[in-house]
């Protein structure tokens, strides 16, 4: 064989040998560099076909497999292929017999070569160097298992047609200058450049796109066996990524979801739990948790924003100035506060100390969302038919998004558990208004309460 990957040469020679009826055990195939067979004492001249020899037949399946198997690194490959070709003359459907050991062996060689080619497409890593003309030149080092380099040149030419590049391998090198492809002899790893500034970026990407919560080392090794790692810049990170994965995952869980616990199943348990809650900074202020109050099976739940100064001191919801506004309005429209479960979206008082006074501060979206956990626990136990949210914070606690009171008031919003949400203004908003504006808002507020009262009655029927 003139070259280890010269399939055309093998095919022509094999065809002639078959026509000359030379049996497989009479032929020795040797490739350049090999020592050849000890028994290769015969002629290297190809014999002439016997007169009247039949045309050599080979199935399509054999031809496509043979093309790949011919570049396999197994020194026996040409002999095996010739034996197969020889046998095919007697049984043209031999390739269909999957149980035949020779068929299997050739199929395995074909598969190994295809895989090697695929991995070359995937794992060649170019490094940028500049040549004398200061044009960018990209050079890669790759170690294929089989004689595939020349065959796979086309892939890289098509992909990097306008780049100047070289692929160096121990089985020969390819060089492309944007117009012509040149080949040269085998190279060594030291001939390839070391490092490229882009590799730091690439490694950062590789480490960041990895999700430590889903470690699957086996799946990785199956597709990227260790033998390829040494020439891939990102592979050096793998041991530390694996070692750090459990820690990173638990950090993700800790940072994310606090403690894995079940929701409390009784109002008393909630009360105990919220007193100890410091999931958000509000819980760490000098204040005490304020539990909702009312019948544990109330059909109406009224949700405010958070306890105020008075509520914090007395430990009861809606007992301060805003609570009085609420009570007055409820009394006016004839809805008994005692039938409702009155509670807050946020369980602790958020304030800023100014001298001796504690100035109310609105909870932010994140704090409301965190406290939603407790509020939902309450709602799961009380199971109200209607939830009346007072103000935007309570609305957010129910819906998980910022709501507009003016747009959403006066209409029920269906909640997941089948209950209805009604939204209205917070009574403390009414406290801050004067004159005509206040008059108008108080009316709207009372109107909303009346709608809720009517709806409660309708649902009871």
């Amino acid at each position: 064989m003139p070259e280890p990957d010269d399939f055309a040469f093998w095919r022509d020679a094999a065809r002639q040998l078959v026509q000359a009826r030379i049996a497989p055990d009479q032929v020795a195939w040797s490739e350049p560099g090999s020592s050849g067979s000890l028994f290769a004492i015969g002629s290297t001249e190809l014999p002439s076909p016997l007169p009247g020899a039949a045309v050599v037949k080979a199935s399509k399946r054999f031809q496509s497999l043979a093309r790949n198997a011919a570049v396999h690194s197994d020194p026996e490959r040409f002999a095996l292929l010739y034996e197969m070709l020889w046998r095919l003359q007697g049984n043209s459907r031999l390739m269909e017999d999957k149980a035949d050991p020779l068929v299997r062996r050739i199929e395995e060689m074909d598969k190994a070569v295809r895989r090697d080619a695929h991995k070359m497409h995937a794992f060649v890593r170019f490094r940028k160097v500049s040549d004398e003309d200061a044009n960018d030149h990209y050079v890669a080092w790759f170690e294929p298992d089989h004689h595939i380099v020349r065959r796979e040149a086309g892939f890289f030419v098509r992909r990097f047609a306008n780049m100047h590049w070289s692929i160096l391998t121990p089985r020969g090198c390819l060089h492309w200058d944007g117009e012509t492809l040149r080949e040269s002899g085998p190279a060594q790893k030291a001939d390839a450049p070391q490092g490229d500034p882009a590799e730091d970026l690439w490694r950062s990407y590789y480490a960041s796109i990895f999700n430590p919560a889903r470690l699957k080392i086996g799946a990785m090794l199956k597709e990227m066996p260790r033998k390829y790692w040494k020439n891939m810049p990102e592979a050096e990170l793998i041991p530390q990524l694996i070692a750090g994965a459990q820690k990173r995952e638990s950090q993700m869980v800790d940072a994310g979801s606090m403690v894995a616990e079940d929701r409390p199943e009784s109002l008393e348990a909630i009360e105990r739990a919220i007193s100890a809650c410091s999931r958000c900074p509000i819980g760490d202020l000098d204040n005490k948790a304020v539990m909702g109050e009312g019948p544990p099976d109330a059909r109406l739940m009224i949700v405010g924003e958070q306890p105020g100064d008075v509520e914090d001191q007395q430990g009861r919801p809606f007992v301060g100035p805003a609570g009085q506004v609420l009570n007055a309005a409820l009394e006016k429209i004839g809805l008994d506060r005692e039938v409702a479960f009155v509670t807050n979206a946020v369980k602790h008082f958020k304030y800023q100390q100014r001298g001796k006074r504690r100035i109310h501060q609105s909870p932010n979206a994140k704090e409301i969302d965190l406290c939603r956990w407790w509020h939902e626990a309450e709602r799961e136990i009380v199971k109200p038919d209607i939830v009346l949210a007072l103000g935007a914070s309570a609305g957010r606690a129910m819906l998980g998004r910022t709501v507009s009171i003016s747009r959403q008031r006066g209409e029920p919003i269906a909640l997941d558990d089948g209950s209805e949400l009604w939204i209205t203004a917070h009574p403390s908003y009414l406290l801050r208004l004067d004159g005509e504006a206040r008059e108008k808002q108080v009316q709207l507020f009372e109107q909303d309460l009346r709608s809720v009262k009517e709806r409660l009655a309708a649902l009871a029927d």
Partner: protein, 414 residues
Amino acid sequence: MPALDTIQKLEILADAAKYDASCASSGTAKRNSKGGKGIGSTEGMGICHAYAPDGRCISLLKILLTNHCIFDCHYCVNRKSSNVRRARFTPQEVADLTLTFYRRNYIEGLFLSSGIIKSGNHTMEMLVETARILREDHDFRGYIHLKTIPEADPELVHQAGLFADRVSINVELPTDSGLTRLAPDKNARQIEGAMGGMKSAIVQAKDERKRFRNAPRFAPGGQSTQMIVGADAASDADIVGKASRLYDNFGLRRVYYSAFSPIPDASAVLPLKRPPLMREHRLYQSDWLMRFYGFAPREVMQATEADGNLPLDIDPKLAWALKFRDAFPVDVNRAPKEKLLRVPGLGTKAVGQILASRRHRSLRLDDVAKLTVSIAKVRPFICTLDWRPTMLTDRTDLRSLLAPKQEQLELFAA
């Protein structure tokens, strides 16, 4: 705060993209860079250029343009109320990064998504601009996958399809109620409307290509979507039902399932434990049953257990077979292809080989054994010349005989 350098931005914006399940770079039109000015090729089959220790392939530069977001979806680490570090790339920076990586053969192309900044339209314009820079300024012929923003103007979404190989719109959650609860700023009707618009544009562009050779290509890799599994109470039956409606209505190429991962700074509404990754795997298997094995969505749902979820210990095809034992045994020498595809343990390849070899001779159990991974799994469900399962399919303990031995599947399984 000092300006972030490229490496820091890349870390933040790749980290934010790691929850996107899609990585495919296959199934698009064949292209190469010969005769052009730039680089890049696609040859039908996508190439995985590396694998991360999570077993997932790295085929594309998968990043967000920015993780700033005006939306507040609870399952999303980038939601408005989250405290993660924020960063932002310009379209030019992303294009440069893509080319830098592509020239070194690290990637097949770009998968670009983004948090919503300013408005849906503004964000979509930035995404399209990135693709335009790559395609027009640099004559880039590699793969581009753009995540489109359902809230954006349809005309902008259309432009995305002209530059991208694949477009995707995430449905996020399998049920409308889940979406209302966990993604209050999103709207199911709007998402499906955008998918419908994309489908008709893809169909129309294909039609035009048939008549006019030079008609512009439009998302030749089709459209895909992603659903988050385990963030809400939706069962596997809900998920499979949703996926099959999406395949039917919008001609999707793929539906990806992403097991909900614990995310830093998670919202209190979310479950605290992640679902087992096996659930995601079972969903992909059921997806396969529908796409390649001729199962109707209804039949996959029949394989679920009382709670509507697929069993975790056995695959959905075996679960179906155990419930419908009267469909077995199947005679491998006579049965049509559709029936053979129902046999647990016989894949599409094995079925093809059985069909090919039985043209020449009648198969024995040994012959089938050579074509399958595990004959033990297949045996109770088939007949061959020399084998007939007498009572196996009537045995009540068949499931435990066939289910894999309990083992710890992964190091940190939930």
